[in-house]
Symmetry: C2
């Protein structure tokens, strides 16, 4: 279910992040403690199916990790692992320009 | 015609680079002296119209600069300027994984 970061190419990583909704999800995740944010808690203008698609794209690229806690699916940013594989890339996304 | 790098957002930069043909163009440009590569000289599996589109995307994101020399349109990578605006990003693309 979760990507091995060694298998994620730089093209896949760039494509996963080059989207305004996904950049927003990553920025909100970065500003929250790990495993505190359920999928429905993000301030993005998309429906539930689209949101699932966006999270799947981030998961496939190794950006986020998800787990189920009862009825909630909660998230964390794989910041250290992603930084190790793609140095500087998340920092650019989080810079917010 | 060419982008002011200060006006290019990180999302635009990521989207411009997150494409296999454009990554190839960037890598070939990086391995050639500036202004030596005409648009038709790249080893990419796309037609002329698609190639123009890809170069336009790279130009709009501030990645490449083009000028006409007689009948040829030649290119250079705006490496220093792009690096200053998006540190580390070209390096990831050129790493080639």
């Amino acid at each position: 279910m979760h990507a091995r970061l060694a298998d994620v190419t730089v093209q896949e990583a760039l494509a996963a992040l080059a989207d305004p909704v996904r950049m927003r999800l990553v920025r909100e995740l970065a500003s929250s403690p790990e495993w505190t944010r359920a999928c429905g808690s993000f301030d993005v203008p998309v429906g539930k199916a689209a949101l699932s698609h966006h999270f799947a794209a981030l998961r496939a690229a190794g950006v986020v990790e998800q787990r189920d806690e009862g009825a909630r699916r909660v998230n964390r940013l794989r910041r250290a692992e992603f930084d190790a594989r793609f140095p500087g890339l998340l920092e650019l996304v989080l810079r917010g320009d």
